[in-house]
């Protein structure tokens, strides 16, 4: 099928399948999945700038479907999502500026690659340690407790004491997040988490969901299911902003995004509904390979010089 905007010939079936796979990941983990969709679009010959911009457009659509489904399941904290969107957009701009500075210094690729590898490996290692420790302690505490819908959302984390210490920091203004079960937390802490996620998004590319979702759980103390749903809601706003800025630069082929999204829409629903059947620590454990895939792609790019 010929797509006139990007001038690419791509099989629509391929696009639907890629969208479907990325949709499942997005719905289940609350990530954009650009580390898979980007290389998948590159693989069929789409230029890098179109791959990035088009992927963002498709992420908007997929996140709308997944966030709607998560909202129906009670997994979206609108107040938190709106605050985080502000921090993410500011952070993304800062990350993009940082890239420009490094470009001028002439060593952007090496620095970005090393930072990305360290960040991805750290997240994976930390989440593997934390989720396994939490699952072990839960097993000891009540071996008879079965994972049902209600129980699955009652989230426990081995990192809980640190999270509670962060929540106790009294930096005005303090706000409450009743939907997420957080009585009081500094607004600045939420903005900081979103800002850091945004910086990494602007710096490393993509939505940086694999940084923001764990940060929401471990730093802000948001239950995993709500972190997934709220992150998706937040992605709608920040990815729409990214789509707009990329589109005015001529980096978006919306026709490709629309075709991809027909697959992503089913995948996102399957992923979102599946979260009901898993407890928070199990979702976090299943999340571990995602940043590793991101790290593997960066390592491949670093050693071969081919950008996937």
């Amino acid at each position: 099928m010929f797509f006139p905007i990007s001038g690419a010939h791509i099989s629509p079936i391929y696009l639907v399948i890629v969208g479907f796979l990325v949709g499942i990941l997005g719905g289940f983990f609350g990530v954009g999945g650009s580390f898979i969709a980007g290389p998948a679009l590159r693989l069929v010959g789409l230029d890098w700038n179109f791959a990035v911009g088009t992927d963002l457009a498709h992420i908007v659509g997929k996140s709308v479907v997944a966030a709607k489904r998560h909202r129906a399941l009670g997994n979206v904290d609108l107040r938190l999502g709106l605050i985080m969107a502000i921090g993410t957009i500011v952070g993304a701009e800062a990350g993009a500026q940082l890239i420009q500075m490094l470009k001028r210094a002439g060593n952007v690729n090496l620095i970005v690659s090393i930072v990305a590898i360290v960040v991805y490996l750290s997240i994976s290692a930390f989440m593997l340690w934390e989720s396994q420790k939490t699952l072990r302690s839960q097993k000891r505490r009540s071996s008879k407790e079965k994972v049902k819908t209600g129980i699955a959302k009652r989230d426990k984390s081995a990192f809980g004491p640190t999270t509670r210490a962060i929540q106790r920091l009294k930096i005005w203004p303090m706000i409450s997040l009743p939907t997420s079960g957080v009585k009081a937390i500094s607004l600045w802490m939420i903005l900081l988490v979103a800002f850091v996620g945004g910086v990494f998004g602007g710096f490393l590319g993509g939505g940086a969901g694999y940084i923001r979702m764990p940060s929401m759980v471990y730093v802000l103390g948001i239950p995993t299911h709500l972190a997934v749903g709220t992150d998706l809601f937040e992605i709608i706003i920040s990815a729409s902003y990214g789509t707009f800025t990329h589109a005015i630069k001529g980096n978006v082929d919306i026709l490709i995004a629309l075709v991809m999204h027909t697959g992503a829409a089913i995948g996102a629903q399957i992923g979102a509904i599946s979260t009901q059947y898993f407890a928070g620590p199990k979702i976090r454990l299943a999340f571990v390979p995602l940043p590793l895939i991101g790290a593997a792609i960066v390592i491949y790019t670093l050693f071969t010089g081919h950008k996937l």
């Binding site: 659509g61 997929k62 005015i248 629309l258 027909t262 697959g263």
Partner: protein
């Protein structure tokens, strides 16, 4: 549990069928008709194109989600 799994699988099968129809519709009608117009917008009116692009993808998402949810409720296959 088995009945629930069967219902869920049936719901997914119906969703897949609906989506297959929608995708086919997109390939042969909507994309074909919109392609030239969107290409023109992208070349001559970038800001309008950017706005239309976001509206299209959000519109498609809302419509796809709403239609399937409505149909599945009608059939009674959704297991949530």
């Amino acid at each position: 549990m088995k009945a629930k799994t069967r219902r869920t699988l049936r719901a997914f099968a119906i969703e897949l069928g609906i989506y297959a129809l929608l995708v086919t519709g997109y390939f042969f009608l909507v994309l074909h008709l919109l392609g030239g117009w969107l290409y023109g917008l992208e070349v001559h009116h970038r800001y309008t194109y950017a706005g239309v692009a976001i509206l299209l993808i959000i519109g498609q998402a809302v419509v796809l989600e709403s239609v399937t949810t409505f149909l599945l409720r009608l059939i009674g296959g959704r297991s949530e």
